[in-house]
Amino acid sequence: MILIDALLSGVTLGGMYALIAMGLTLQYGVARIMNLSYGEFLIAAAFLAFWFFTGLGVNPPAGLLLVVPLAFLVNWAIYRALLTWLVARAKTRAALEVDSILATFGLLFVIQGIALVAFGGAYYSYSYLAVPVSVLGSTIAANRLVALAAAAVIGGGLYLVMTRTRLGTALRAVAVDPVAAQLVAIDIRAAAAFAFALGGGLVAAGGVLVSMFLTFSATMGVLFTMKALIVVIMGGVGNLMGCLVAGLLLGLAETLVSRFVDPGLTLAATFTLFLGILLWRPAGLFGKAAR
């Protein structure tokens, strides 16, 4: 059944988008860094997973346990080394936004350049758990199901941490009002660094999962950055639920357009959806209107 088939792949893809966007919304909502090099970390993680699997024989779920903590540390170091400088320099939130856009735009080309030197411009993929499984009368590769399940576990875990723990409450407080958060003894610099690193960990997880069932290349990071940004803004900046809904929406829209209309028009569909939602609700699906 072709429709169920399309819906299944749409949900898988959408789940990946949602997971990736959750990391970006942490970086942008809490740490206030608009990170244009975000997708490059996804591609880096995908290459690492590829290398672990084909070179060292480590399977991707196990690779996840290595790649994610590594990405967390790298992103934490990047925030401390590169971005705190901009945070200290910026007089206003808007100034930080512009500075972070510029700095991470530079970072994008550095990381992409390194990936190009190391792997060239070719497409990569590997075959892990590529066995067909029958779901609702349609067949789907097991690796997609594993990726979707892992994304659901990670995303759900993040949601629980953000809503049920002191740490999550502190991060949300910084997102809503950094000045007031300071007044209740939250170290906003540490919180911002942590949120940025956590975002980096999430996108790396996304990269490992995506590499299990999609082909990827050194220059594809930008596309993922763009889609993550679109999902974050569509869902409402800083809102995890918004990421989930908007991510699924985007994944479904892309899959349906590519299946039933034309694969060359998926990006056009993405942008139409993005603009349509913004013109309808300027603050995003779950965003609060500014007072």
Partner: protein, 300 residues
């Protein structure tokens, strides 16, 4: 008195116009690159400088210009081709501006970030499905020297327009919006119209640059015409020079065009990495550009 800077500027343009009479091919081609980036960076700064809305869509308009020539160059007379290219670029800018410039600045950045890729995919889709051939040969009978003179004329026009806009109410409105977007409407400025108008104006110049440069390639495909590296280079140049002033981007274009030329020749594989590092250095160490540094020193 206020027209005084026009005299040395006229002399400079006249001197530059004689270049093709004695320069060799390499020198002319390098000068053409310089002019091209001058037009693109100055046009970029015309909108993004005062408003501080970072546009990442330069190559989207450049590519529209180049593609218009590839499609129409053989069929129509050259001035008409330029006119149509400018109209298409302006129309796309109006569409993008009207739908995103009413929203917060970040949405605009995100949209321009994807715009070149979006248009590249649409052109690819059209070529594959309708014309059934991805690349096109550019058949326009024009010499390198003629391209150079056209670019020089366009560069002159950009500076003249920028200078006039800077002295007009439109330019003043843009500066007010850049300073405080909350105040601007309360003194009677329709901020959407102002932003969209300037965005479209700057896009028209970028489109024309792409159209004039197109005959230099004999063959173009969407990946060549919409190469995101161009947007990035223009951004770096404008920021190094300083986007707050009309002549600012020029101060970035000259050293960086030469540097990039050298880098591409010497380190073709590491170009992107070095470019990114150069850019980071500029963002961290020269945040207001060279023009900003000198202006601050002059103010002391």
């Amino acid at each position: 008195m206020t027209f005084l800077p026009l005299i040395p500027a006229t002399l400079l343009v006249a001197a530059l116009a004689t270049l093709p009479l004695y320069a060799d091919g390499y020198c002319l081609s390098l000068s053409l690159s310089l002019l091209n980036y001058t037009v693109l960076a100055t046009a970029w700064a015309m909108f993004s400088g005062p408003t501080r809305y970072v546009s990442l869509a330069t190559v989207a308009f450049f590519g529209i210009g180049a593609y218009s020539v590839a499609v129409l160059g053989e069929v129509l007379p050259w001035p008409l081709v330029l006119l149509i290219a400018a109209a298409v670029g302006g129309a796309v800018a109006l569409l993008v501006g009207l739908s995103t410039l009413r929203l917060s600045g970040v949405y605009f950045v995100v949209f321009t970030f994807g715009l070149a890729e979006l248009i590249r995919q649409l052109v690819t889709w059209y070529e594959v499905n309708v014309t059934r051939a991805l690349g096109r040969y550019v058949f326009v009978d024009v010499t390198q020297a003629q391209i150079y003179w056209q670019m020089l004329a366009l560069a002159t026009l950009v500076f003249l327009t920028g200078w006039l806009v800077g002295r007009s109410r439109l330019g003043f409105a843009l500066r007010i919006i850049g300073d405080d977007e909350t105040v601007a409407p309360h003194v009677g400025i329709d901020i959407t119209i102002v932003k969209v108008a300037l965005f479209a104006l700057s896009a028209v110049f970028m489109t024309l640059a792409g159209a004039i440069m197109a005959p230099r390639w004999t063959y173009i495909d969407p990946a060549i015409a919409f190469n995101p590296m161009v947007s990035f280079q223009v951004l770096i140049m404008a920021l190094l020079g300083g986007a707050g002033r009309l002549y600012g981007p020029l101060l970035g274009v000259i050293p960086l065009t030469l540097l990039f030329e050298f880098l591409i020749a010497r380190f073709p594989n590491h170009f992107s990495i070095i470019l990114g590092l150069v850019f980071l250095v500029i963002v961290y160490l020269v945040p207001n550009g060279v023009a900003g540094l000198t202006a601050r020193r002059a103010a002391r």
